[in-house]
């Protein structure tokens, strides 16, 4: 495969295909991932090509899926689990938090659990309840888990393979409303390490830190700000556990201002940790407090309200204005 333009969905599909090809121990598990190819078609064609033992349609029971994935990992497999939507990961939460996250430590390192849990997450697709959640903090807070989220096809392609190669459990959050966004994928590139942040736009006035679906919003905000003569730097965190604070710190030491952006509620969101830590690291550099743009402390609203609920360009720029007003 040469460098190709493709959607995030396709890049993920290619990454899964590549992993299935190169490692016979990789198995995919989930609801409707077989003939249907998953409700988002991320596993499209894979069961046909790799068989029902490699691409496993499971009973409708998320705890069962993750629990048996753990068992398969103990047997030497590398399960890649698909949770159908963000809101349906919670039945599996016990297995993830009390078993998957802790078993390596419990066994003093004698067991490894290379399990990837893929979760299409966040809003913007006009869905009914439970289909637009952003639960990343509920995993990033848990020691023993790694958490990442790509924002573009190139990262989707590489980060998923890196997650599958990783010997730790990785929660892989896929920005579902960006599934159909296109970008270049270079399958011969040497990818950056999984847990590094990327500065995707250089700027000097304010740093925007985002990940997954909000990177695009930040880039749009930066473009709009540029027209007003403001230079915003955009950092795509890519990894939420661990967070690459060094890259962020370098950016903030340059700009002196930081705005975090995510869909999850602001209260105890990723922005809280970033604000706390960057303030500690850059106390004398910050010209303004770290400002946070995100979801409200309210259940994700019905679809007709999600445009208002979701952080958009205007709310990001409002925070930028406020940061610059200090």
């Amino acid at each position: 495969m040469a460098t190709t333009t493709m959607t995030i969905a396709k890049a993920l599909n290619e990454a899964l295909r590549k992993s299935l090809e190169t490692d016979a121990k990789v198995v995919l598990m989930g609801e409707d991932i077989g003939k249907l190819g998953g409700v988002f078609r991320i596993t499209d064609g894979l069961q046909k090509d790799f068989g029902e033992n490699r691409v496993i349609d499971t009973p409708l029971a998320e705890s069962g899926i993750v629990g048996t994935a753990i068992g398969l990992a103990l047997r030497g497999y590398r399960p890649v689990v698909e949770i159908q939507f963000d809101g349906f990961v919670f039945p599996a939460y016990d297995q993830i938090v009390t078993q998957l996250a802790k078993m390596h430590a419990r066994a003093l390192g004698k067991i490894k659990l290379p399990v990837v849990i893929r979760i299409p997450y966040a809003g913007g697709i006009g869905a009914v309840e439970h289909h637009s959640e952003s639960p990343e903090v509920l995993f990033a807070h848990i020691p023993g888990l790694k958490v990442v989220s790509p924002s573009n096809p190139q990262d989707a392609y590489w980060m998923l393979q890196q997650a599958i190669d990783c010997d730790d459990p990785v929660i892989f959050f896929e920005p579902k409303r960006r599934y159909w966004d296109k970008g270049e994928v270079d399958p011969t590139a040497i990818p950056a390490p999984l847990h590094t942040a990327h500065t995707v736009l250089d700027g000097t006035d304010v740093t925007l830190a985002a990940y997954g679906p909000m990177v695009k919003v930040c880039l749009e905000a930066a473009a709009a700000a540029a027209e007003e003569g403001r230079s915003l730097e955009v950092v795509d965190l890519r990894s939420l556990s661990p967070v690459d604070f060094d890259t962020l710190q370098a950016s903030v030491q340059k700009t002196g201002r930081l705005v975090t952006v995510h869909e999850a509620p602001v209260f105890l969101g990723m922005g809280a940790e970033i604000a706390a830590r960057i303030t500690e690291r850059c106390f004398y550099h910050l010209q303004a407090p770290v400002l946070r743009v995100g979801g409200f402390h309210a259940p994700y609203p019905p679809a007709r309200l999600e445009e208002e609920y979701l952080p958009g360009l205007d709310r990001v720029l409002d925070a930028v204005d406020r940061a610059l007003a200090y």
Binding site: P59, L60, G64, V128, F296, R304, L305, Y309
Partner: protein
């Protein structure tokens, strides 16, 4: 309406063989354990345990319910195609399972639906237009559950079976003889919550009927991916009886559900009913069933259509003439029209509704965010 049944007495449930293949899937009418009172050809048959005796008006009522429900469902599907709804989960093919069970409930009973029980909602007196709010995206449900003892649609698979069980425990503690019915699907039978609901219901002898519409599919997965024996056999190992009924036979569903509710309300505890039926349409309007199932399966089930068989019976018995059928047709069209208009004029929620009803007793953070957001919005009005 009179429903007689021997099921209200403790009896030995007919459990499976315990090994794979104990019963054939999609066996339909061929299966001995399927309770049936009206064949696909519209013949009234008798069953040793369940019988029913309905007046002509009652029979016509069931027919009307099914026709109107199907019409409403079709209207919703087309409203989705027209972009008026974001999604629709059609009940096509499951009208008998829903009308039969819904009509078996008493007003004081309480119903816990999934997201597909439009026919049951109809029986409970919920305005069909109200069901569309969540599919249009203007709310997450929003009808008053206590108005018709019909809980909100629950999307997280299986959750509501526990709510139903707890509600039933409460009803029993209150000394009433109200019963509760919890709907769930064949796919849902795999969820741990459903098993826990069985356990709690059995241990507390809660007056709850677990009503499983086995429509053969959980999105793209056939029932074999959930269980290797018939679902109605699941309950015996929890200590209560299960029964499989022809889910496309409204008379049998009514008789069996009525008996199960009696069983519950008379202090004998929970019961499981598996209505063997078929999802004629896609899982939802977002789904594409051609990727995973064959047309011929659907065609086979078309021959067992729940509405057609009752109509055949009514006609044969001289209970429905053309005028009557035309009347129902007209009523259907009127319903479709009313729903269409109701949906089109359904107002979008106010932006600030985001902050409403998060808490019943208030919350400082919500107040703060509401105020900040209002201020932010005001900057646009001022032409900021």
């Amino acid at each position: 309406m009179s429903v007689k049944s021997t099921a209200a007495k403790p009896r030995t449930p007919r459990t499976g063989t315990g090994t794979r293949g104990g019963a054939k899937r999609r066996g339909g009418t061929g299966e001995p354990e399927l309770v049936q009172l009206l064949t696909p050809e519209g013949e009234r048959v008798q069953h040793s345990e369940y019988s029913i005796d309905l007046s002509p008006d009652e029979l016509r009522g069931l027919y009307r319910d099914m026709v109107l429900t199907r019409r409403f469902d079709a209207e919703a599907t087309s409203l989705q195609r027209q972009g008026e709804l974001g999604l629709w989960a059609s009940l096509l093919g499951q009208e008998a399972a829903q009308i039969g069970s819904g009509r078996a409930t008493r007003p004081d009973d309480y119903v816990f639906p999934t997201y597909r029980e439009h026919g049951v909602a109809w029986c409970r007196g919920v305005d069909p237009a109200n069901l569309l709010g969540m599919f249009r995206g203007v709310n997450h449900g929003g009808w008053d559950p206590n108005e018709n003892n019909f809980h909100l649609y629950t999307i997280v698979i299986g959750s509501q079976t526990l709510h139903a069980t707890g509600y039933a425990m409460g009803a029993a503690m209150d000394g009433t003889d109200s019963a509760v019915i919890a709907y769930f699907g064949d796919g849902a039978s795999s969820q741990g919550d459903v098993a826990e609901a069985f356990t709690f219901a059995a241990v507390y002898n809660a007056p709850v009927v677990f009503f499983c519409q086995n429509n053969q599919w959980a999105i793209s997965e056939p029932t074999e991916k959930q269980t290797r024996v018939p679902i109605y056999q699941r309950s015996a190992g929890f200590g209560f009886p299960g029964v499989r009924v022809d889910g496309n036979d409204v008379l049998a569903v009514l008789a069996v559900t009525k008996a199960a509710l009696e069983h519950a309300r008379s202090g004998q505890g929970p019961m499981l009913v598996e209505a063997f039926t078929y999802r004629m349409g896609a899982h939802t309007t977002s789904d594409d069933p051609t990727r995973y199932r064959l047309d011929e399966e659907r065609e086979q089930w078309e021959r067992k259509d729940p509405i057609l068989r009752l109509r055949t019976y009514l006609e044969k018995e001289g209970l429905a003439d053309e005028a009557y059928l035309a009347g129902i047709e007209a009523e259907s069209e009127a319903l479709g029209k009313r729903v269409r208009e109701a949906v089109r004029t359904m107002p979008d929620p106010d932006t600030m509704a985001i902050f409403e009803n998060v808490y019943a007793d208030g919350h400082a953070l919500v107040d703060e965010e509401r105020a900040q957001f209002a201020e932010y919005l005001a900057t646009f009005e001022e032409g900021h």
